[in-house]
Symmetry: C2
Subunit: 100 residues, 2 copies
DNA sequence: CTACTTAATCGTTGATCGACGATAGGCGAT
DNA sequence: ATCGCCTATCGTCGATCAACGATTAAGTAG
């Protein structure tokens, strides 16, 4: 419910798009969707990037609202905010007039 | 028709998102959608940016495949590639599983 | 041909990004 | 309390971005 279905403001739209504007972050997002939820270290294993770099990318995605991270002891478990992602898709589609 | 409905590759998706990852370019895109087609100078009038800056933004959008520009005498007329924009929205939506 | 309009390109500057290694902090286990 | 693991943050460096003014290129009108 809530504002799940209202389009994003330009600023927020831009921020989310910017967050997706890097191949590594798209891959990270896809992995997160595949595994449903997973730990930073797991992504580091899979991507050819340093831990600090992956952590940065995750922070960016989190700041944009596309993923959420919850601390579980010494680890941090990330998962995609599907609602936001859906809202992003919706917003882009709603830009086009006459879209059935 | 053709590949209108197949999702974008990660690289292309990232490039398009990057192109939309700036408020000015979102505004430009929206204006282009509103006016259907318009000239660079028209956008310069409306945006608080220098002509060279607007031209740069348009080039970025064009390189990403989101807008098309055709030369009309001394002017260049831009319009949104709605098919691509739709495909972008579709691609983002298709990321999410169980999306009705 | 000249003068004007329009847009793209060049060159510059400061800011931000993307990547890394190194460091620091939090938590669990020993 | 200490050790080890996991992650976030810091500092750095080169590359790219965003913005501008100035210049160039291409057409049109006179």
């Amino acid at each position: 419910m809530s504002d799940k279905n209202i389009p994003l403001e330009d600023e927020q739209l831009a921020e989310m798009c910017k967050a997706l504007g890097h191949p590594a972050r798209i891959q990270i997002l896809k992995h997160l969707l595949d595994e449903d939820r997973c730990i930073c270290g797991r992504i580091v294993e899979i991507m050819p990037l340093a831990q600090s770099t992956v952590s940065q990318h995750l922070k960016l995605l989190k700041d944009a609202g596309l993923v959420q991270g919850e601390v579980e002891g010494p680890k941090t478990c990330y998962c995609v905010n599907r609602e936001m992602l859906a809202r992003l898709g919706l917003t882009i589609n709603s830009l086009i007039p006459h879209t059935p």
